[in-house]
């Protein structure tokens, strides 16, 4: 793990001395993401979720951990692969599923689909489908937070592919120039669609090193191990919240299913079954469960209860989504412009 200037002490609260309830809440969050995604995968072939859909199965650790470390007034933006980030930030599961089903009760009233999630109530400011598109937007949110003088931060979720967009470099540069409270969380899952890193970025060059040279406080870590992810993220959030530096973390992980859609696709040739199996061995949920079992924080019964709770919640949410009505087709012609005048200060200051 690399730690660039400004130097900071490790956060006092380490994962190890967090209490059992907290540790179980992280597990629950991971399981919840996994079970939601798997249920989407199961139902997608029914042809009722009619939009491009990118699942985070295998990548649950990073979102779950960071979700426990942010407050509601912290903000977040994300990408095409946003389900996990949205859920971890506290986004409404029913509204998300309804959105994927294109329903009126969806978080965008059916206009955005899987790639466009939003839950303003919990500070999830939006995910968009163009690679890199929300990166500067997150930096702008952080600018507004800094101007307001509050202690909040903005998290920008991005992938290893998004690093290649010039706009990442531009946005990061500005965040450093202005010392903005933004935390870039890069889930490096080795692929951009079917393209391995080596055809896109120089071999041997680390993403976190680029970030560090740009001037971001930068670290990397194993994104499949809860304790390590927790350590890296707590440090980063501390640095960021204290206004010391805009920060960057690169967390290594792996997407299990196909880039877009519900299936496995290790047979089509862009990556090997062996690679997949090696990563599956390192399933973040299994690794964490083992740890919790060992520490006697978890037992089979607790797990069963947790899973049953989640199953109920998730089945309910799918039920909600499937039975919600479509928006009437005239709503396609809902206004493209917001109405009204947008003046905060009632008094006319001059004239």
């Amino acid at each position: 793990m690399k730690n660039s200037s400004p130097e900071t002490q490790e956060s006092a609260v380490t994962f190890e001395n967090m209490n059992g309830a907290y540790k179980l809440s992280v597990l629950k969050s991971m399981l919840r993401i996994r079970m939601v995604e798997e249920e989407i995968a199961k139902r997608y072939p029914q042809g009722k979720m009619r939009c491009p859909t990118h699942l985070s199965v295998g990548q649950e650790c990073v979102p779950a951990v960071i979700g426990t470390l942010l407050s509601e007034s912290d903000l977040a933006v994300s990408t095409h692969r946003a389900h996990a980030h949205y859920l971890a930030k506290g986004g409404d599961l029913k509204a998300m599923l309804a959105e994927i089903y294109g329903k009126q009760s969806g978080c965008c009233k059916g206009r955005g689909g899987s790639m466009h999630l939003i839950d303003e109530k919990v500070g999830f400011k939006g995910s968009t489908a163009i690679v890199g598109n929300t990166i500067p937007i997150g930096v702008g949110l952080a600018l507004s937070q800094k101007l307001r003088g509050k202690n909040d931060i903005t998290v920008v979720f991005l992938g290893d592919g998004a690093i290649e967009e010039g706009v990442f470099y531009e946005a990061a540069n500005f965040a450093v120039v202005k010392k903005l409270p933004v935390l870039f969380v890069c889930e490096n899952n080795l692929y951009s669609v079917y393209s391995p890193l080596k055809v896109r970025q120089p071999q041997g060059r680390k993403i976190c090193d680029i970030a560090s040279t740009i001037g971001l406080h930068s670290q990397e870590g194993d994104g499949n191990i809860v304790a390590e992810t927790h350590r890296v993220l707590t440090t980063a959030i501390d640095v960021c919240r204290q206004g010391q530096s805009a920060t960057f973390v690169e967390l290594h992980t792996y997407r299990w299913r196909e880039h877009c859609g519900p299936h496995y696709d290790n047979d089509i040739g862009y990556r090997s079954e062996a690679e997949f199996l090696a990563w599956k061995e390192r399933d973040p949920i299994e690794l964490y469960k083992t740890q919790l079992y060992k520490a006697k924080i978890l037992d089979a019964e607790k797990l069963q209860v947790m899973i049953r709770q989640l199953e109920t919640e998730i089945q309910d949410a799918f039920q909600f989504a499937e039975t919600s009505p479509y928006p009437p087709s005239e709503q396609a012609y809902s206004p493209v412009f917001a109405q009204g005048v947008n003046i905060n200060i009632a008094e006319v200051a001059n004239g």
């Binding site: 997608y44 072939p45 042809g47 009619r50 939009c51 491009p52 859909t53 294109g102 329903k103 009126q104 969806g106 965008c108 059916g110 206009r111 955005g112 689909g113 899987s114 790639m115 466009h116 968009t128 489908a129 163009i130 690679v131 890199g132 598109n133 592919g161 998004a162 290649e164 967009e165 010039g166 706009v167 951009s192 669609v193 079917y194 393209s195 055809v199 896109r200 970025q201 877009c260 859609g261 519900p262 696709d265 089509i268 040739g269 862009y270 009505p325 479509y326 928006p327 009437p328 087709s329 709503q331 396609a332 012609y333 493209v336």
Partner: protein
């Protein structure tokens, strides 16, 4: 040269093979050109046949990578750049407009930029607001760009070859709903030119000027219009920059009625240009107001529910043409149009996700 039935996507693929065989300076690059899916099959076999130097994947760096293609083109290469969605290409407007489009004129006509940029237009299966934009009007508005929108498999091949070997920057727009359409495609090399429209069906009462996927709808509509006594001439514009005014004007001179059909948003669209120009130049020949059917001025929503009647199709064309020809049997005409089970897929075989 025999004719075989190929899909539009296969025809593109064949054109790419022919071009790369013919000229070692033709390159093909873009996200996924060598991946298992091969851009909906359109780049199949290219890397195997022509090697990794000429056929390559790229970083997700749209503006930089267009500039790199332009640079190669300035040194006599003929790059074909590919984007799976036009929407991603918005990142590259500086290179397209400030460099590629202007180079030949601005540097005194010394050096042109023989690059071809293949962009897919989306629609359906929840492509939504940022995966479905049809921005041909933007490209047509910029002096120095050629803009090609084939509608048939044969034209996909012929016009792609013409684009690659045209000395100018060409934006080549492929509608995803055309990729699977089959048609007769002559084998071997094809000579075609950019800037010539085709009259796909002759008629005497109304001129339908269509582009890209709207050609399919126009032909469906024309069939039905016949049944209520309207003889529609269908022009497939094929390129929207330059526009083949001669063909359009000759048709309007005959029919006195023009209906322009666009896949882009209405305001300042290619269909606006066609209507405007017809009104300006052929005012006295027009028997009724010229009209256009285009996308509404709204982003494309994602939901199955919202897209139900979002994309104007043969029904809208039939209705509008009947009105323009003062034919009242609109319901009769509409009833003979078949309606697909799902409005958001190019065929029932399509199951997503992209």
């Amino acid at each position: 040269m025999g004719e075989r039935s190929l899909t539009f996507a296969q025809a593109i693929n064949e054109a790419m093979h022919l071009a790369m065989e013919k000229d070692p300076e033709v390159l093909c690059y873009g996200l996924g050109v060598d991946d298992p899916k091969r851009i909906f099959g359109t780049t199949k076999g290219l890397q195997e046949a022509f090697g990794e130097e000429r056929v390559f994947d790229m970083p997700t760096s749209e503006n930089g990578m267009l500039g790199i293609g332009i640079g190669a083109a300035l040194n006599d290469m003929k790059p074909v750049m590919v984007h799976q969605r036009l929407d991603f290409f918005l990142l590259a407007m500086d290179q397209l407009v400030n460099a590629a489009a202007k180079w030949f004129y601005m540097f005194g006509g010394q050096r042109s930029v023989p690059i071809t940029i293949r962009l897919m237009l989306g629609r359906g299966w929840g492509q939504g607001p940022t995966h479905s934009q049809n921005l041909q009007a933007w490209f047509a508005h910029i002096p120095g760009l050629k803009v090609v929108m084939p509608a048939t498999a044969a034209d996909a091949k012929g016009l792609l070859l013409a684009s690659i070997f045209d000395p100018n920057p060409v934006v080549f727009l492929e509608h995803r709903w055309l990729h699977h359409q089959e048609g007769n495609v002559p084998a071997g090399w094809q000579d075609d030119v950019l800037g010539k429209a085709k009259v796909l069906r002759t008629g005497t009462d109304i001129t339908l000027v269509a582009i890209s996927y709207q050609v399919v709808e126009a032909l469906r509509a024309a069939e039905v219009l016949q049944s209520v006594g309207i003889s529609a001439e269908v022009i497939d514009l094929r390129t929207v920059q330059p526009i083949d005014w001669a063909t359009i004007e000759a048709s309007i001179a005959k029919t006195g009625r023009v209906l322009a059909l666009d896949t882009g948003a209405l305001t300042c669209s290619v269909s606006a240009e066609i209507v405007a120009r017809s009104a300006e130049k052929q005012f006295s020949l027009l028997k009724t107001a010229p009209a256009r059917i285009a996308m509404p001025d709204f982003p494309e929503p994602t939901s199955y529910g919202l897209t139900k009647s979002f994309h104007p199709d043969a029904r809208n064309i039939v209705t509008q043409a009947c009105k323009m020809c003062c034919v009242t049997e609109i319901e009769k005409a509409l009833n003979s149009l078949t309606v697909p089970e799902h409005h958001d897929v190019p065929g029932e075989w399509f199951k997503g996700p992209f």
